[in-house]
Symmetry: C7
Subunit: 97 residues, 7 copies
């Protein structure tokens, strides 16, 4: 039943990654320590335009792990799943192992 | 008697979809659960212009199911029916089954 | 004695249409029901310019029936008649039977 | 002794027309009735520039009767006479008999 | 000892003209009557640029008598003399006998 | 476990340099004295675009020592290390011995 | 130990000139009299860009004596010396003997 969303313009649909509260070995992580506000890119819009009419593609792509700003982002529920919608320029960077 | 509205510039006329409060099998859905602020596009304007004079067509089209922002939208009554008017850039995305 | 006004730039002179408070058959219409904030275009300006100097003609024309925003519009009395002056981009759409 | 002012850029020097408080036949006009905030153009500036550097001439000319906004306008006394200075884009329209 | 100032960009250095409080024949002028906020242009900057990079020369020149806005202007003391610095676009017009 | 961040657009990832509270010879430095808000550039984004669509590269590069503004900067924890993210135009200058 | 700063973009590093509180002949100058908010240019950035991407060089150069605005300017300590950082467009003019 859940619908699929294709964002408009330079909007980016992100599923937030909830960091583990314990390490693999089961040690409880201090509450604030490893809380990285990050998420996975689910879908991106076709891109926007600058004032001179040039097409500006979205800088991140589906599957990227991205660092999110502390504030902003529109909460969206599709079926039982929760997502957040950001503007491309508000995404802080891409995370790499 | 109801009149037909052709929006100006990049305005989009939308009829909001009121989600069923029960599933097909009659189970009452929790109030907040599946409330997706969505609607169907009834009519779109001819598009706008950027500051350099380039014509910018509207990104969504008649019949599209669209995800609407929580706020904004101008309420319009045409005859007995209620619609909402949005600017194209405020529509969050298109919904697909 | 009443003077004629030619609006400047992309201004539009509108005469508001006051909707009948009764149907043709005399049934009193509920106060809020059919109140469509609409009007007839009396005169339009020569159009404006975008920042790049391109001439932008007015989107509506004399005789059009237009949907007006709830707020805005400058009240103008020419002789005994009352008009309202809008900027072209504030007019929501054109109404068609 | 009164000096002559040549406005700069797209400024327009206007002498306000004070509407007669009586009709020709001497009938006292209700205070608010025919108060049209209008004036005669005395002098105009050379015009302004848009951000792309294009020269934009002033839309009204010396001798025009113009409709003025309710607010704005800089009061200027040249000798014993009182004038008002407006920006071209704030003038609402030209009045014609 | 007093230093000479060359304004930057489209700034204009003005020496305010203090209007005589009496006419030539010695008649005391009512305090508010002929107070024209005017001054003489002492020096002008090389001019500014619009956003498209076009050079925009200053519209007034050294020696011009100019009409000044009621507010704004940066007070500057060079030696014992007092001047005011304005941006070119804030000067209302040039005064001519 | 710590992830590597590639900033987006013209963002710059900086590791703040904490100035020694003592001189090499062990003399305690007055608290406010040598506190230079500086840091080392760890990573830079691909650069931004101006409104006309021109690509604007980042002005500083990896390894530069930079002078940071007193306010602004987004605090980021990658693993156990703390970084700050700035926009390129907010970095005040580069420091050289 | 003091480091050298190269400003970014169109920033200008200035060392404020503190006017003598006495004339050469030792006469105490009234506190407010000759206080000219001026300084010497120590270093300038490479210049900025306008929105159309054109490079805009800094208008003042190293060694110039400049008139500074009353407010603004970022205070910077390099070693024991105090400097102020301004944006090029905020410098009011250059001073000449």
């Amino acid at each position: 039943m859940a619908k699929r969303l294709i964002p408009t313009l330079n909007r980016v649909l992100v599923e937030k990654l909830v960091p583990p509260s314990q390490t693999a070995a089961g040690i409880l992580l201090p509450e604030k320590s490893s809380k990285l506000n990050s998420g996975k890119v689910i879908a991106v819009g076709p891109g926007g335009r600058d004032v001179a009419g040039n097409h500006i593609p979205v800088a991140v792509k589906e599957g990227d792990e991205v660092l999110l700003p502390e504030y902003g982002g529109t909460e969206i529920k599709l079926g039982e799943k929760e997502y957040h919608l950001y503007r491309d320029e508000d995404i802080l960077g891409t995370l790499h192992h």
